[in-house]
Amino acid sequence: MNNAAENTAASMSVARTPSTTTERERPRLGLLRATFGIIAKDFLLEWRGRARINATIFFAVLTLLLFSFAVGPHHAILEQNAPGYLWLAIMLASVMSLGESQRVEAENAALEGLRLLALDPRAIYLGKSIVNMLFLMALALVLVPVSIALYGTTIRAGMGPLFSPLLLGTAAISAPGTLYAAIAVQARARDVLLPLLLFPILIPGLLAAVKATSLVLTGDPMGELVSWTMLLGAFNVVYWILCGLLFGRVIEE
Amino acid sequence: MTQGVIEGGWEYVWAAYAVTWTALVGYTLYLWRQRRLADDELRATGEDERS
């Protein structure tokens, strides 16, 4: 009975021009170009909305302020703990930036749209976590002068050497952060779940980043900066690769 | 007092053992209760399936 369906379909389609495009070669983006496509998209989105970067900066600066009120106006203590406050402010604010980065994809199921464009999940992950890193980096660069003003930190070794701990630290946050944000956005109580999942595993990254930053700021008598930077580097290598591999499984239906 | 030996300290030892035992027994009871809840739930879904 079913072959009747095929005959009629066959006879009807004879009248139609045979489809020439079925075998059309469809060019596909390599991993790198797809990643840059995602980065460009996220930057354009942020440029249009600008909600995310403003909210994150405002929240982080406010957090720095709150630290000084909580600790009290004792310059010595504030200056000594400045790297700790800086990184805590970045880490706390990162939850907003990571969450917003995924909210945009959850709206209208845009992430599913990206998947259906045959994009490699690794490219989506790399693109989004690089953008998260760059946003957190921008935030850090805003917070440094603020913490100089608030806590009187003096940058002896200049901004240059400060760049590596900041970059490695923000990369360490966004590597697992991007993946956890993709999970949290689809779960209940996502604003609670993201920090609950992210902060415990970030602790080694936080330790290393604070230590590296303070060594850069207050001098490194014992030459420990190399080992702390290496630890941060190891943390990044492990999580950029691991989360890149696991991201596909996280976003599949 | 022999050099450095911490006097007594038995109350801490008992405290640690008490914590250990309460945790183990407590979790046993928790599992026992969860087991009952899970079985009841299964039976409930089994019934509304058949009815």
């Binding site: 009975m1 779940l193 415990p200 602790i203 080694p204 | 911490i6 030892v13 599992l31």
Partner: protein, 230 residues
């Protein structure tokens, strides 16, 4: 076999715990420096072993689920994670109780204890994730992903905390003279908690499987209403 396990495991667990307790508290001699307070390690160290075994089981079960999508593996992962968190909690409390007489503070930043604390919160996050996600397939996949990410963090946490803390205090661990009775007490309690881990995980596994049967159903039989497919 089932009956042996159902009664054998708890019997061994409680039995060994009692014997280990007696040996540890009464028979083993006091330690040279720390007097009797060191006896806390007879429950502290075995709990640490149990927690690590539990978390390793969760890792393996999570990897099995990711590759084979087997619901049994997911149930094992969930069960041993929960047992791991319980043992981890015991470990932290007994560690803190031990810190009080020894160093005069309730919480020492001793690398092992600090790593245990971080792992405790990491796996509490894992359990929270399981509670906040309803779709069975998504919950199992995401939990496996989180378990792998958390487990891989353990060595990193260990090194970072050791470096971070190495300046403040020497690493103080009881330099127990290898007194046979001390070793016996430690071994007895270690096996006791191992049996507790096996028994708890087995019970929790059954609960997880029952809940799975509630949540997941096998495909319905080929209903007669099906049209004539070629």
């Amino acid at each position: 076999m089932r009956r042996v396990l159902d009664f054998g495991l708890p019997a061994m667990a409680f039995g060994l715990l009692i014997i280990g307790g007696v040996v540890g508290l009464a028979i083993a001699p006091p330690e040279r420096d720390m007097g009797d307070v060191y006896r806390i390690i007879y429950v502290h160290v075995p709990a640490a072993l149990g927690a690590l075994i539990a978390y390793t089981t969760t890792l393996v079960a999570s990897l099995v689920y990711l590759f084979k999508s087997s619901w049994a593996a997911d149930a094992i992962a969930e069960s041993s994670a929960e047992v791991g968190v319980v043992l981890n909690g015991m470990l932290l409390i007994t560690g803190s109780i031990w810190g009080r007489p020894t160093w005069g503070v309730w919480w020492t930043w001793d690398p092992r204890l600090t790593t245990a604390a971080i792992m405790f919160f990491a796996f509490v996050g894992y359990l929270a994730l399981r509670r906040f996600v309803d779709a069975p397939e998504k919950r199992a996949t995401w939990a496996s992903v989180v378990a792998i990410i958390v487990y891989v963090d353990i060595p990193i946490v260990w090194f970072s905390v050791r470096w971070w803390n190495s300046l403040h205090q020497l690493q103080s661990s009881p330099n127990t003279i290898p007194d046979p009775m001390m070793k016996l007490a430690l071994r007895l309690n270690a096996f006791a908690l191992l049996f507790f881990f096996l028994w708890f995980t087995r019970q929790r596994y059954r609960i997880a499987r029952t809940r799975q049967r509630v949540e997941l159903m096998e495909p319905p039989a080929l209903a007669p209403a099906m049209g004539g497919t070629p």
